[in-house]
Subunit: 345 residues, 2 copies
Amino acid sequence: MAETGSAAATDLPLKRPRDDGEKEANNNNNGSVLMEMDSNKQPDCISSVIPGWFSEISPMWPGEAHSLKVEKILFQGKSDYQNVMVFQSSTYGKVLILDGVIQLTERDECAYQEMITHLPLCSIPNPKKVLVIGGGDGGVLREVSRHSSVEKIDICEIDKMVVDVSKQFFPDVAVGFEDPRVTLHIGDGVAFLKAVPEGTYDAVIVDSSDPIGPAQELFEKPFFESVAKALRPGGVVSTQAESIWLHMHIIEDIVANCRQIFKGSVNYAWTTVPTYPSGVIGFMLCSTEGPPVDFKHPVNPIDADDSNCNSSKGPLKFYNSEIHTAAFCLPTFAKKVIESKNEKI
Amino acid sequence: MAETGSAAATDLPLKRPRDDGEKEANNNNNGSVLMEMDSNKQPDCISSVIPGWFSEISPMWPGEAHSLKVEKILFQGKSDYQNVMVFQSSTYGKVLILDGVIQLTERDECAYQEMITHLPLCSIPNPKKVLVIGGGDGGVLREVSRHSSVEKIDICEIDKMVVDVSKQFFPDVAVGFEDPRVTLHIGDGVAFLKAVPEGTYDAVIVDSSDPIGPAQELFEKPFFESVAKALRPGGVVSTQAESIWLHMHIIEDIVANCRQIFKGSVNYAWTTVPTYPSGVIGFMLCSTEGPPVDFKHPVNPIDADDSNCNSSKGPLKFYNSEIHTAAFCLPTFAKKVIESKNEKI
């Protein structure tokens, strides 16, 4: 989930202190990582320290925190958009942190990258033109490039530092940039999409951070309208859509928006990612009016034993056709809410 | 996952300090919960403090910790088997901790209790006699009692303090004890099973803690042999079977053991539980030789709109027939390992 969103993050309403410079990631004497916040302004954000550990605390998941033991801080920088940090953890490999939030770990990134990519691309025959919004770490590109039918892959990432850091510290993720079909655009995904000629893409993948901060626009109706316009009839979009355990109120709104805008299919799927809050992450899978798309029954399988998996990208670790279909089966508490917004699910 | 196992916990090999009194749960002045461990003897267990928070650190999941914000400590005690603690968390309701490990929270207990119970009971027609090993909080009983075909429910829990604490602090979980079909046996589950006449039960549910400490025997071959003997032909067992992200080496052994002992079906299923390490928990679902059991296609559905859900137990929150089938779909990395042990999955 690399950061993306408006080119001018400061123009957006800010609901948490991730973009206002109130906190800094520091490496103190004993190697612990302190994410200091102004407790007067952010009563939900207390200082969090397990000595030698990184703790992820946010008003997006109040009252809980996941912590990883830090072996060594490898990089700390501040881009025009966010704080960027990379550390070597003791058991999850290298970890990429943006504004205090875990974006990926080497150990479990496969689940997110493979599912957000293959859920849409395996649901349509012969995808040719694919757009990735965000995804600056390159992991989604790596997965898109497994599809031999794809001829052109555009990616629009707002923060060049994410791309550079990923190429330096996460070569097995950033390998996606090496595909000759890829064109990297550094810039605002919202503006990029508005300039795209109607019906350009077979698939759009929105690999965004959370909807509070610079990525907020990526969860709103005008953005989804731009996505729908950029897709061909029967084209598909996959967007990061938060956790059923933590964010049903956000998911409810996204589903309602998508139902208004996407006249084909509108579905919610989810998967396990241990280092994301509550251990799960969801995706909205939608298609535009045109040839019907049945997301639950993939027509374009790509499984671990496919020959295209034996390259420098390594084999698929997580995705297979069975887990594709299973991802659309929701716990009753989530199903009830989502079905109430979407009679077709 | 209430604690159970050998009656004499000190007879078992101890691999972590949960049973040797080296640590104590303390409520210090500012309300924070300290789980102090002897760092000389347990190098992986560092002292963990976020002021006002409970942090779960264990050699079973090295290098990571999940923390919950504590509003108030409600109970702290030491039984013959373990330290027992209950606290009010700020966002997950009341929480039950045994030996420093989260057993249940009011917010997400539905996922574990419903899945470990209905995966086996919905897979056979008309279950009549059910045995629960462990499960002293009563949540599995609550779920078993939704099945109107059931005539007799035995439960063998080693630690009476778990039962008493659950009745006092978790009435919506312990409601399971109120069913007149339930008989509670306080004692060693291993010994109880050995004394059961052959072929007594239609289903056995093993709601155990982790395999290091008093529950260790519940993951070993002699215990599975006792379970198989206690089941009727074509009877089913469901056991807590750890996390695909953290414990594939343990799961591999369990699958190999079960394949030797259970001559019907042997399957692994999993579900999401945010407050368990890595956010998932798995189950072994096995059947004895006899009428064949196809766990993936439940023959005895119990869904949220069933009339038996409108009682004091409240409706099903998590389980439905779709998520039953989906639970058996594994990520590729887990599928490969499990299939290598079990050609029939």
